[in-house]
Symmetry: C2
Subunit: 249 residues, 2 copies
């Protein structure tokens, strides 16, 4: 895979440390391309700040994404609460709350972020780039929240809501299905059980088989379930659910 264009420039900056390159990074055309694609309008620097990890900020002394992420989290919570309230006005508060937690889960957010290709726009420090930090779920999820904050600040809540729900529908189409929470619950329930019984987390390994993945679920270092699925995520949930139902843990 060829290196993304913004990241190419980033690597030049790591090597040369030339100050003029910092601004070229923050005003890179890739940010404009992203905005055009999603009908966003804001100063380029406002957008690139949402993609600036603290490690880049500390290394090159530019503003970072951290406070935006804090705001974005609140924006996301309201958008989801509003939508859940609209869809399930009779549902108990406890279940609405669980459903919302499942949807703001780091992995779910990282899925959307990956789907949008945010990894190619995230700006990290030199050492962190080598460690591939811009591909990590935490960083992807945080950046997604920072991006949402900027959409909210420059376009308002209604626009942010429409954009986010569109992305959610595109990348996590089952999010509002009845089974979503149960599947989500399965993995966390299995985790709790395994910790309680063996003081060890369950592990999932995956092997690509053509277009699909063979997923193996290990509990207490033993193979407990295995199957072939269209995605790793679906496979992991399915295996966790099967093991819980059969009770073979």
């Amino acid at each position: 895979m060829s290196r993304p264009r913004l990241h190419q420039l980033l690597n030049e900056l790591y090597t040369s440390k030339e100050a003029t390159l910092i601004h070229q990074v923050l005003l890179h055309e890739d940010f404009q391309i992203f905005m055009t694609k999603h009908s966003l309008k804001m100063p380029l620097k406002e957008l690139s700040q949402a993609f600036t990890h603290t490690s880049f900020s500390h290394e090159f002394n530019v503003p970072h994404q951290e406070q935006m992420e804090f705001l974005g989290d609140a924006v996301l919570q309201l958008i989801l609460t509003d939508e859940l309230y609209r869809r399930f006005p009779e549902e108990k508060e406890g279940r609405l709350s669980k459903l919302r937690s499942a949807m703001v889960n780091e992995k779910v957010l990282a899925n959307i972020a990956s789907g949008l290709g945010l990894n190619e726009l995230i700006i990290v420090g030199k050492g962190e780039y080598k460690k591939g930090l811009y591909e990590q779920a935490t960083v992807l999820a945080d950046t997604f929240e920072a991006l949402l904050a900027q959409v909210y600040r420059h376009h308002g809540l209604e626009f942010a809501k429409t954009l986010y729900l569109g992305w959610l529908n595109q990348f996590v189409p089952t999010a509002f299905d009845a089974g979503f929470l149960d599947d989500f619950d399965a993995k966390s329930k299995l985790q709790e059980k395994s910790l309680a019984l063996y003081k060890k987390l369950p592990r999932y390994t995956a092997e690509q088989k053509g277009d699909e993945f063979e997923i193996t679920l290990w509990i207490n270092d033993e193979v407990t379930a295995r199957g072939v699925f269209s995605s790793k995520k679906i496979g992991e949930r399915e295996l966790a659910s099967v093991v819980l139902k059969k009770g073979n843990i």
Copy 2:
């Protein structure tokens, strides 16, 4: 103090159980007066549902406030996060988060709710009325959140924000001051310490002295500090802060 007019009708309903009175309660003029006072426009039943405690709902089979409260909490979180972000763009996320927690604290919300006289509009079941549930901090805070949800649903986020910040400024004028969090911290820190040392919470008692209050702070059932203050809230914080600073716990 004469019994508020809505509550008078409520007591007639408890006695007579006449179904027609239920609708008179839910469409009571006091709700219209509240809306007019705060420039709100929504169907009366939409407003009175925000004031309907689950105990009344279960007793008379009408919709209650619970899901609205869930939505209102998210509205409140976003309003505050937005305002904190605007006021303190450079502040660390951890401190912003603490400040926000202090401001959505049940007691702070109950203060605003009391200031607005929401207790006179809260509709609870018969047994709960006798226990004075409509004056309890939890119920006041929950109702305030449900009310905010309805303001948001019928008037949008910007209106809800302006209204809420106006109320906050009126009833908790020190909310955005630097000392607010420290004062808030003092009471919770003292609580932790007292629990750790004596497995007992600190107690505060108050005696009215003209326009002021003499507040006594009891730790492990002994008088630890005492002073006269303009309000109970200020006094309690001040005493907690003094005891912590002097280290006499």
